[in-house]
Subunit: 343 residues, 4 copies
């Protein structure tokens, strides 16, 4: 068999581990050939690819962040219109099954392809952990580890200066990183997109904590968090590449607002891209490797139109249609767990 593989969307620690496992499993277990397409779907639109073998170079990418295939975000409209070109490229290269590794956009495209008869097995990828039908995705654990280490560091500065410190972490539509990092980092408040915040309530919490004699206040804010409409007006940050309205700098705007309202020194840190790069944690390497093995197995077993997923400790297959149907957001009971430590 000839297996095609590509990585789409934002980069993420563990992509290389998936690629490595797909190559290893396809080559050793099935004697198949693997072709990697460059820069996500663009590689298929422009027929740019490379043969992947399990040599020393591919063996060593296990612990490297990013993706040796390159990646790119592609506008869904362009993708939809390019489906025929993509199918042609797959044909020209004799690809029997495609394994696209990516987020919502990539998996949706994989779903379209599957519906139009192109065999494929998706591998879910998202730092934000918001893809449905899987307990976790690789990259999330690494982002969480980095965010938590940053919060650990901010505690000592906040204590020494008796400061309020806000830290903005990734999570545009779902607050999983913020939720976990807040729990792991001992935050006094965690603000997530699923729970609009009230600035008055935040200020009351901060004041009450300092009045009790505590020395500092650490608040984790997901980048997609938004205030209750009557609570504060967020300066909007225009639209993102797919036309969604985007708030920018919610943490910095909230920090300035707290400082203004309660006259307390506030500092804000925006973690940004360091959360998505670098060597994956052991957890993510294992998860990514297992996803790669199972995707290759499914590809060879003719299990198409599906996506590998984590269910407890098992790697299973779910329908792509279900996975791209909605985003997985933080439910109320999980937020309540974190809230037990607020204040």
């Amino acid at each position: 068999m000839r297996i095609g593989v590509l990585t789409g969307g934002g980069d993420c620690p563990g992509l290389n581990a998936v690629i490595r496992a797909v190559v290893r499993t396809s080559e050793v277990r099935y004697g198949s050939t693997v072709v990697g397409f460059r820069d996500g779907w663009r590689g298929l639109l422009e027929d740019r690819k490379q043969r992947l073998r399990f040599d020393e170079r591919v063996d060593q990418i296990l612990d490297r962040g990013g993706t040796i295939l390159g990646t790119a975000r592609v506008n869904p409209t362009i993708l939809r219109e390019g489906l025929d070109t993509i199918k042609q490229t797959l044909d020209d290269n004799g690809i029997d099954v495609l394994i696209p590794i990516g987020g919502e956009g990539t998996l949706t495209a994989a779903h379209w392809l599957a519906e139009s008869g192109v065999p494929g097995v998706g591998v879910p990828k998202t730092i934000d952990n918001d893809i449905a039908c899987t307990d976790y995705t690789f990259g999330f654990n690494t982002a969480l580890a980095i965010a938590t280490e940053a919060i650990d560091r901010l505690h000592t500065t906040a204590e020494s200066h008796q400061r309020v410190m806000l830290v903005e972490v990734m999570g545009r539509h779902a607050g999983w990183i913020a939720l976990h990092a807040g729990l792991a980092g001992g935050a006094h408040l965690t603000i997530i997109p699923e729970q609009p915040f009230d600035v008055d309530e935040v200020c009351r919490m901060v004041k009450s904590r300092f009045q009790r004699g505590d020395s500092h206040f650490i608040c984790v804010v997901a980048e997609g968090a938004a205030p209750m409409p009557e609570s504060m007006t967020l300066r909007e940050g225009g639209f993102d590449e797919f036309g969604h309205k985007r708030f920018t700098g919610v943490a910095q705007q909230l920090g300035a607002e707290i400082e203004k309202r309660i006259g307390k020194d506030v500092r804000t840190t925006v973690l940004g891209h360091v959360q998505r790069g670098g060597t994956p944690t052991a957890y993510d390497r294992v998860l990514a490797t297992r996803f790669g093995i199972h995707a290759a197995d499914a590809a060879h077993a003719g299990e198409h139109g599906k996506m590998v997923a984590l269910d407890g400790t098992d790697v299973t297959l779910v329908a792509l249609a279900d996975a791209v149907d909605h985003l997985k957001t933080v439910p109320q009971d999980r937020y309540d767990e974190a809230a037990a430590f607020f204040g």
Copy 2:
């Protein structure tokens, strides 16, 4: 209510996070009082305890390894004979529910107590991840991270010197740490207690790898691994504190054997205690905190004779009787995943 808490068995990153969450939840959510017993069951046998409040000190233990309550291993026979003393101490201190945090031994004692009418909710703890009825236990992820970082470091030395390197990790009865660390660290072979090894086969693998021109060979060995009887005689290391026959230094003995049989430079590293100390990973802090919250909730809900457990992303309750019934070992299909990368 008055809640008693203790930590038993070997120490483990995350114990303090459980204690902190039990105190926080009991105090804030239920207005209860928490008493910590010192040095595991010994604290109950000798009535040594301390009142725990959610003050700055307890708040700050979230990221500290070990346990502020101290811990100790106690012989099961002594424990069984001491059950009446333990019950008396609980009575004397007006403890309504006991939350013992510990491994197989501690949970078995908790089970005995429950059977004799003492309300209790167990929290499973094991570096080795071998307690049944729960997907994972805290401490395991930290041990895995440390083992993987060590393997990462050994790769470059092995490559530079074209060496065989063995690394012994924890896992007396189950090979979970070895299995995961081998996958995450890119091991060329992983040896676990569940799969007796054949020295000839190991030597054949090593030789074949070097003959193919590869520069090094990394083998992860669980401390409880054992050779096939006809393959090699392991010098025995006497008996452990509970009378089980104990092999010591399996990695060092195997390393010496490989060196002798194939005349190749072999180096062995025994990671030892560094795997179980120090700050927990973010993953373990979250899991331990959630276990603590749910144990306190269960204690107040009258859910006794049970243990908190992880099922996918949910924290649930399982019967202690089921949890201590058998150890959770590595099944064949999980070992086969790792084996895809052997050689």
Copy 3:
């Protein structure tokens, strides 16, 4: 003897290690008593203090960032006018020698006090490494380690997306962190305050690198970096607390300018406060501990008006007057070393 100690200015990993060593050495080697003043010079202006003993709590601060004494920035004018109050507080508390641990501001105040007859031994502290007369100060090595790890992480994202990535690190007046992090992180350009940059030249470098087929461009920017006047107009960020004109967000402004001029995707990360918090590196713990031992020794030897300093591997004493006379900036030959890797 009674020794007073305080920590002034911004917090810095290693402050606690100095405090611990001062307490240990004074107590054990000299049988002296140590009093810690709270929140920098404010503690002396308002007579807020605490007795410090080498107990378990003080022993354990070795690896904790921040300062258990608290710290605060104080306006130099207020300090100058408060010198008599400070002297009175020292008298009232029977302090024989004061050990102020801090940066340029704190050491200048210590120098004023020394000139007016108050015995004191300074301990230099600065993340930025810009205090004169000492090879290094503690905190710098930790900041460098954090910045370098961040750059390591940004590489893989930049490669995967073929991006230009800018990372802003600390260094208002001197580029030491940027210089070292650029060398350690394999930056393709490092911009420091000592070397005004030319935006055209920067754009030329970026374009030329991509034209050669390289996949990414990483540029480290010190927060105090400034463009050549004719090259680009930096929106000014007002004045800092001491009346110095302050540029804010130089990296973000430069990033936007590059994006505009060459039409290439640019991402900017501002590391911010994570650089100054958290556990100190081993190097900084050793340096801070040695500074503390030697400061206590000097205090008891009557070596006043001086500051401990690192000279090669020796800890020595230098005159405070010399140390506060000028800032230590990056000399041309050191910048040339880094420049060997530019482009």
Copy 4:
């Protein structure tokens, strides 16, 4: 010019950074060609080499431990007898200057070559930091960081179990790693080769600490430490490859002795090879890179028979003859600094 480069002796984090800097500087600053010889001096004895260019591969080795050239320990006698072969290989390859990167053995061979007229500039390399005439060598800081992190982890286990814990670190002839790791890790005793230890005195210290109510005792032991002859008989471990008598397992033997004499639970951890592998710290990457730049500069300036060295913050040149004349051991005053925290 044609520059030859090789890495000899045990591997060490930073070797690749030196190679990268030598290649970059020689190529870009001088237009020279660099040839790398494989596996240390063996590459010169057997004429095995590769052309090194500053391509993406060489650029990316900055943060990789080990050495892409491979390394090997060679018996000095074989080296001495092979000098003519080595000179012949250098001639055959048209090498103008050789840059050997290595420890005492490699630098001694470089010295012999220099004396017989072969131009060369040495780069000192030792984990143990015991090469004379330089403040530090790269690799040492990384080993220190790893050892300190391990000690941090052992503290919490020791506290929880009220144990004595011994940790053996590298340092066969000099105790620099132990000295620094003991200071950085808050050890209660540090034992180094320069200071023979008295087991009775060690036991007295341990007992006295526990009698004072302290919860644990951490002791750092350099692998080359030795007891006073009358204090304890160390089982000898034979001879090393160069005929030096070698004690093995001093920490384990001392641990067993303490356990026997005072009846207290003792655990010993031998860090071993993890100390010398993996990614170098930022400090070591900077030092190694600077050594590489200056070695290439010296090679092109005709400064032969010398070695690059660190003097404060300057990289200088010293005579190879001086550098190999003696080992740099820990002086009494440095040990006294650490001793301030013993007990």
